[in-house]
């Protein structure tokens, strides 16, 4: 169906400049020309991006997206195997540790024409969390970790005012969260808070003692939804929103300060078979159309279009209060450093 694809595209809703439009048109034509029209994306989760993929497919007729779920060891192995066998499949990679994969030569330098580095991040987000100094990855948005609670068990007035409150005795037996000893939201948030000095080790231990620590965030969310526990600190926002949408009595809570964010880094894979289509997708992620969908799913565009507003009533990222996001290498270093601490909290 590539024949149907070529022709003039309607790029108006993207809210980009004509030079960028031209660039996108060129990429599109090249993609259709080459016949490599399927963009294979390896990411840890695709759930909240499905809307964006659909919009992309509609905006660029003839191109399709094939989302594959790969993280950690599986991602590493698959990439290695593809490289060694010369049988390349992946076009676009998304991973919090994009720098590490880029370092190993799995990515190709590419800066989307639609990308622009905002000025406000200075001092709040390490620049390399948004744009790779080496030119491999770029982040179209960030996700903000929130807490969640059961609306039947807690009123808004009962909610903790800050992270510190959770260490209090009144929360004993009411908390649940996923173990911070394996990679996941909890590990990221705890590390960010600890390294920024927003909380300390003692706090973490008290919170750990107050809580039932489970193996997966889904299990924690399940307890909250079912009303077994009242409050889940340190969770990923998206899942909570999903559950809420499905009718679960849960709600998201951000604190007034010291929230934690993480950026979503996207890059073009080395030797991508559908290189042009992949580039086009990367460009698309930074457009107004994609940002709107991002807001809807609960994430925060880094460079939010002025015309857009969060349907959840949440502020723009630049106006939100979050602890400084250091370079990913720093985060990793700290995660390793706190590893034993995390494990000891889980094991008690």
């Amino acid at each position: 169906d590539s024949a149907q694809g070529s022709g003039e595209l309607d790029l108006g809703p993207l809210g980009i400049q004509s030079a960028q439009e031209e660039e996108l048109q060129t990429l599109y034509d090249a993609a259709i020309e080459s016949g490599d029209t399927e963009v294979t994306i390896y990411a840890g989760h695709h759930d909240e991006f499905l809307g964006i993929y659909a919009a992309f497919e509609e905006r660029f007729p003839g191109l399709t997206v094939d989302p594959q779920t790969y993280v950690g060891a599986e991602l590493q192995t698959t990439l290695e195997a593809e490289r060694q066998s010369g049988n390349h499949v992946v076009d676009v990679l998304s991973n919090p540790n994009a720098d590490r994969y880029a370092e190993q030569g799995f990515a190709e330098k590419y800066q989307p024409a639609t990308f622009e580095l905002p000025a406000w991040i200075d001092g709040r987000i390490s620049e390399d969390q948004i744009a790779d100094p080496k030119g491999f990855y770029h982040s179209p948005w960030a996700l903000m970790f929130a807490s969640s609670y059961n609306t039947n068990l807690l009123d808004e007035s009962d909610l903790p005012g800050s992270w510190a409150d959770l260490a209090g005795e009144e929360w004993a037996g009411k908390l649940t969260f996923m173990t911070p000893s394996t990679p996941g939201g909890t590990m990221t948030v705890s590390t960010a808070l600890l390294q920024a000095g927003a909380v300390d080790e003692a706090w973490l231990r008290s919170v750990g003692a107050n809580a039932k620590i489970v193996a997966q965030d889904q299990l924690a969310l399940q307890s909250i939804s079912a009303g077994e526990f009242a409050y889940q600190p340190l969770s990923a926002t998206i899942s909570v929103l999903n559950a809420k949408e499905d009718g679960a009595p849960v709600e998201v809570q951000f604190f007034d300060e010291n929230n934690v964010i993480a950026t979503e880094k996207w890059m073009l894979a080395a030797n991508a078979p559908s290189s042009d289509a992949g580039k086009l997708l990367l460009n698309f992620l930074f457009t107004a159309e994609a940002q709107e969908l991002t807001l809807e799913s609960g994430n925060f565009p880094i460079n939010q279009h002025d015309s857009l507003e969060s349907p959840h009533g949440w502020p723009k990222l630049e106006d939100a209060a979050f602890v400084e996001l250091p370079a990913q290498t720093v985060m990793r270093e700290k995660m390793t450093e706190y590893g034993d601490l995390f494990k000891s909290i889980t094991a008690n």
């Binding site: 950690g72 192995t77 290695e80 066998s85 499949v89 540790n97 999903n242 499905d246």
Partner: protein
């Protein structure tokens, strides 16, 4: 030279041994190499024992190993006990509900481990668990005694699935035993219980020890129950340790994970070695082959106890977790207590990737299981074709696949294929995944095939040879026919297990080919547990359909037999009637849901 070549071609063991070498030693060797290599792929990187020693010396590893071994032993003792008990009840008694046992076991195996663990986590939850609610209802707060998130909880849940698996592995030998062996013991003055322990069990020693080793190693790698139930209790075991190494925040530590795998291999080899020593040069064929009829005994009042046991087991393993799972599948979100609907099922059935994943899974599992069972038969046959080193090698190299947890095995296979130039072209084709699934399921298929073959006296095969049947013809006409019930059940087991395998397809499935277990798993991690549960239930339902078809086929086959031997004499109904008419092939009548279902009463 020519002579050597002749000996080579006239002994099929050589070919089989080479196949075994490639399939089992190959990936294992790669994993061993991986434990000592700094770079996971490619020719770069150097060899060092540093990571291996790091793992070996880590006090963490030590405590985890002790923990795991204790837990594994407890699990295996529990599961073997119950597997034997149920196999005995099924094969040897006239307990009323015995026909239900294989069905229960089948469903237990068919339930994905993840959901089994979750369901049990919920059932035995200290606060909201159904079991504890029932208990508090009956005994007040003091009745809140169940806690699945505990040492014994993990042992309990882990053993449930192993019971089912071991049941099928033990059933064949149980049914096949020549009853005169039993009778001779009874006449020597041994009561039924003593006969069971001193004659029947020891004769089945290969099957039992095999099933125990298999169970132990499966426990060492089963990840779901220890992870989901163990983390809240702060219990860490080897499988979770491997997982931790692989999901390390600074990138997967393949060498460390491989090192643990190497340790596992060592443990397995030691176990297998002990098994060889224990079995010695005894034979376990029910020799003579002059007479063999399975004996089903009247156990008097015991059968009410046993019936209760069967019902209890059904409640524990199927009804309770299934209720939980069905509940989840009908929920709008995980943990819901209202708003139930069939939306999730609709979602599954209309989702393109789910549906294509389903068909892919079915196709792969059917073919893979067939391949595994046929190969296992060939291996078992070749191993007994002639004693000696080759035969030992064939027999024991198959265990290697078991020593590697799924992900590590997949890695080993990848390393193997990528390491050999002419094999690397297969990357990206289904070949790799089928190969890995094959290696992973062979130990299971092998247990069934070997146990079944052990019951067939060699003389039956020899009689076919001198009747003019070639070696291969005799395999088909005699061995395969006699093993058929076991093979069908082995196939079903492998089919179900392959359908549920996650780690291998996760890593090796080719792009564009969706795999249901992967789909289910990603739904789960994306927070759509109810949809995942619905998909899992649909999968179980289709297993039951497949088993049902096998059952019907078995019935039809039985009907087309020239003669029905279930007729009773005029004296039917007297105690004599206990001797249940068994199939036409009592020497090897054997395991298998289909076969069991097919035996009507």
């Amino acid at each position: 030279m020519l002579k050597g070549w002749r000996a080579f071609t006239s002994n099929p063991q050589w070919v089989i041994a080479i196949v075994c070498f490639v399939c089992f030693v190959g990936p294992a060797a790669m994993v061993v190499q991986g434990a000592f290599k700094t770079q996971m792929f490619g020719s770069s990187g150097s060899y060092t024992a540093e990571m291996f020693w790091e793992v070996l010396r880590s006090t963490d590893t030590h405590s985890v190993i002790i923990q795991t071994v204790l837990m594994g032993l407890a699990t295996i003792v529990l599961s073997t006990f119950f597997a034997l008990l149920f196999a005995t009840i099924y094969a040897k008694t006239n307990t009323v509900f015995r026909q239900a046992i294989p069905v229960i076991m089948f469903i237990v195996i068919a339930t994905p481990g993840l959901f089994f663990a979750i369901a049990w986590g919920l059932l035995g939850n200290q606060n909201v668990g159904l079991l504890n609610q029932l208990m508090t209802g009956a005994f007040g707060e003091a009745g809140r005694i169940f806690n699945m998130e505990s040492w014994w909880g993990i042992v309990f849940v882990s053993s449930l699935r192993l019971i089912a698996l071991q049941f099928f592995l033990l059933l064949g030998p149980f049914l096949a035993m020549d009853r005169s062996l039993d009778e001779a013991a009874r006449l020597s003055g041994a009561g039924p219980v003593r006969t069971f322990f001193q004659i029947e069990l020891p004769i089945m020693a290969p099957a039992i020890t095999g099933a125990m080793i298999l169970g132990f190693v499966l426990f060492l790698e089963s990840f779901d129950a220890p992870q989901i139930l163990g983390v809240p209790a702060g219990i860490f075991v080897i499988p979770t340790e491997i997982y931790a190494y692989l999901s390390n925040s600074t990138g997967p530590l393949f060498a460390q994970a491989s090192s643990i795998s190497v340790l596992l291999m060592v443990v397995l080899m030691v176990l297998v070695f002990i098994q060889i020593k224990v079995l010695g040069r005894r034979s376990f064929v029910t020799i003579g082959g002059k007479e063999s009829r399975a004996l089903r005994r009247d156990i008097g009042p015991w059968r009410w106890l046993f019936s209760a046991l069967v019902l209890g087991f059904a409640a524990v393993t199927i009804i309770l977790p299934m209720v939980q799972l069905i509940r989840v599948s009908l929920s709008p979100f995980l943990g819901a207590s209202e708003g139930f609907s069939f939306d999730n099922y609709e979602e599954v059935l209309t989702n393109r990737r789910m549906v294509s994943g389903y068909w892919n899974t079915m196709g792969t599992a059917m073919l893979g299981a067939l391949l595994a069972v046929l190969a296992a038969t060939a291996f078992a046959w070749a191993a007994r074709f002639k004693g000696g080193v080759l035969s030992r090698f064939i027999e024991y190299s198959q265990w290697l696949g078991l020593a590697m947890p799924g992900l590590i095995l997949a890695l080993g296979v990848l390393w193997l294929f990528l390491g050999l130039p002419f094999l690397s072209t297969f990357y990206g084709t289904p070949v790799l995944m089928v190969f890995a699934l094959f290696v992973a399921t062979i130990p299971l298929a092998s247990r069934t095939a070997t146990a079944a073959m052990a019951q067939i006296p060699k003389s039956l095969e020899e009689a076919a040879w001198v009747s003019g049947a070639s070696k291969y013809r005799a395999i088909w006409d005699i061995i395969i026919r006699l093993m058929l019930p076991s093979l069908v059940s082995g196939w079903l087991l492998c089919f179900v297990v392959i359908s549920g395998v996650l780690s291998i397809p996760l890593l090796l499935s080719t792009a564009g080919a969706d795999y249901l277990s992967v789909q289910i798993y990603s739904r789960y991690v994306e927070g759509k547990a109810p949809i995942a549960a619905a998909a899992a239930l649909l999968l179980i339902a289709s297993f039951l359909v497949v088993a049902g078809i096998a059952y019907l086929a078995g019935r039809l086959l039985a009907l087309t037999r020239p003669e029905q031997r279930s007729g009773k004499g005029p004296g039917g109904g007297t105690p004599a009637d206990l001797q249940d008419p068994v199939g036409p092939d009592p020497t090897t009548e054997s395991a298998g849901p289909a076969q069991q279902l097919a035996r009507s009463r």
